[in-house]
């Protein structure tokens, strides 16, 4: 069964070094003096967007599968609604928040944001806190 559809925006992924304090796996201390400041960049991604389909088989051990579909801004991806009806809202949500166009979706409208909303909030280039707020009618 289709569990989830989620898109990720990798704009500027690994473009700059990640700063911050080094937390490590399993409690190993990687804060050796010689590696200070040398922080590995994450592996580059082939395209800007990834659409992930999380699938689950109702079998012993609950095997799961993640299908990744890579695309550039504006590229459409085929809708999976004819295969899994559950994809209806899942794809609409990703269209709404990430701006992925699902070709063949029967009703590709915004789902969570208002119908006349501009832009796709979960994109990395979407401004944060840019919503103008009016404090008085004169403004």
């Amino acid at each position: 069964m289709l569990i989830d559809v989620v898109a990720t925006d990798y704009l500027n992924w690994s473009a700059k070094g990640v700063s911050g304090y080094i937390g490590t796996a399993g409690g190993r201390d990687l804060n050796f003096p010689m590696t200070q400041g040398l922080q590995a960049l994450p592996e580059a991604k082939p395209y800007r967007f990834a659409v992930n389909y999380h699938l689950l088989a109702l079998r012993q051990g609950a095997p799961r599968l993640r299908l990744q579909c890579w695309l550039e801004d504006g590229d459409p991806v085929d809708s999976v609604v004819p295969v899994w009806p559950a994809a209806d809202w899942l794809e609409r949500e990703q269209y709404d928040l990430m701006g992925i166009r699902f070709e063949g979706h029967p009703n590709l409208a915004r789902l969570l944001m208002e119908d006349d909303w501009e832009g796709h909030p979960l994109r990395k280039d979407y401004p944060i806190g840019g919503e103008p707020v009016r404090f008085s009618p004169e403004e």
Partner: protein
């Protein structure tokens, strides 16, 4: 119902049990989540379009249903969501991993402890962090208490909507006890933020075990009370039996999970079939019913409360013997140092300062972690670029999936049943809209 026995098509095998309540599929053909008015009556004067919500007491928050009525019969339905969209996922990208833990509990504000767990488990999976046994058992205990809490809210409000007002008071009486237990442990009644990457935020306080014991001794009696009030109540039975049918095949196609799935005859529970925390070490039963209706969703949740009480008791048995054991991993790069060390150790002070200001870094990678929340499969997909803030956080919300089934469930029902059906899907709007 048994008339459809011969039309199973292919052999039904585990996890699907029982016979389907109707032949074929009832998922609307054009758009799976919108029930269109049949062509022969579309546009007729008798067909009236009514808005339920977004501000309507029986919609459990801000769900809006656009309903087409032909007399009292529901002939068309479309659910509109998004009124409680607050951009949790975007917000969490701006916070360090450490601070983002406060958010998940507020997404599903009724199953808060389970949501907190799934995010913390995702961080721990990326960090490959080992969690002490005591923390695992305490997490299990609190998640099961939270499951009972969530089902009590479901039971109280759904019964209230069908006119059984006294149920609401009884359920909220027990819910109050559970919230008191949470307050005792974490200082907060809801949204506790008691789970920390690596374990628990603090040790289990003295006095918790006797209070929790009192609760598990009392809860079976409370459940008997509920059963006495509802299970032989003719009005309740007639309002719920055979209403809101959803076959196992349709439920799977629509991505249902949790009690909705189990009431449709799918023997599936992630606690047993996938396994996380220490659920393989406790003894519990997974209730499955095959009626596929509102009544069986109620029965699944009633049985689950009894089972959860059993799990809580087993957790207590274990935890009472773990006095003095560590409750959080000893990884100073991720876990805050003990408070008292800050006065004596420079190292600890630096660690504390660094974790609180910059946050710990989590190795690059992506994971999807799923748990059985009170509403079904609650999943968390996170992407890390190796920095102190998550690159992407996404929650697979069981309520979101449940509401997609509304159009299928209202097939040939009356408007009054619509309330019972929406209640039985037990959607939390915070979870749906995120």
């Amino acid at each position: 119902m048994s008339a459809t026995l011969q039309n199973t098509g292919r052999a039904r095998r585990w996890p699907i049990v029982g016979d389907p309540p109707y032949e074929g599929s009832r998922i609307p053909v054009r758009i799976p989540t919108i029930l269109d008015v049949p062509a022969e009556i579309s546009g007729a004067d008798d067909v009236l379009q009514v808005n339920f919500g977004p501000n309507h007491p029986s919609t459990h928050g801000v769900l809006r249903l656009i309903v087409d009525l032909d007399g009292e019969r529901v002939v068309g339905l479309s659910a509109v969501i998004g009124y409680l969209h607050t951009g949790f996922e975007k917000n969490m990208e701006q916070k360090t991993w450490w601070k983002a833990i406060t958010y998940p509990a507020r997404i599903d504000y009724v199953g808060y402890q389970n949501n907190e767990l799934v995010f913390v488990l995702a961080i721990e999976k990326l960090l490959e962090l080992e969690v002490p046994e005591k923390a695992t058992w305490m997490r299990m205990l609190l998640c099961e208490l939270n499951r009972i809490h969530s089902h009590l809210v479901y039971l109280g409000t759904s019964a209230l909507e069908l006119g059984a007002i006294s149920m609401f008071w009884y359920c909220f009486r027990e819910r109050e006890t559970i919230l008191d237990l949470f307050e005792l442990v974490a200082g907060q009644r809801m949204h506790t933020r008691y789970f920390q990457a690596g374990g628990l935020a603090e040790d289990i306080p003295a006095g918790f075990f006797p209070e929790a014991r009192k609760f598990v001794e009392w809860m079976p009696h409370a459940l008997d009370d509920y059963l006495a009030l509802l299970d032989r109540n003719q009005i309740w039975l007639e309002r719920t039996k055979g209403i809101g049918l959803l076959s196992a095949e349709d439920a799977i196609a629509l991505g249902q999970s949790g009690p909705v799935l189990r009431a449709s005859g799918v023997d599936w529970d992630l606690r047993r079939d996938q396994g996380y925390l220490a659920y393989d070490q406790v003894d519990f039963r997974v209730p499955v019913y095959t009626g596929c209706d509102v009544y069986d969703r109620y029965r699944v949740r009633m049985d689950e409360m009894a089972e959860s009480t059993k799990i809580v008791r087993q957790c207590l048995d274990r935890l009472e013997r773990m006095e003095g054991e560590p409750w959080i991993a000893d990884d100073r790069k991720v876990v805050l140092p003990p408070r008292e060390e800050l006065h004596t150790s420079m190292e600890s002070l630096i660690h504390h300062f660094k974790i609180v200001t910059e946050g710990y870094r989590v190795p690059a990678g992506e994971v999807y972690v799923a748990i059985e929340s009170p509403r079904g499969e609650s999943g968390c997909y996170v992407v890390s670029d190796g920095g102190p803030k998550p690159w992407r956080v996404h929650f697979r919300a069981p309520s979101f999936a449940a509401l997609q089934a509304t159009a299928t469930c209202v097939h040939d029902t009356m408007v009054a049943d619509l309330i019972a059906i929406v209640g039985s899907l037990d959607a939390v709007m915070g979870d749906t809209d995120r």
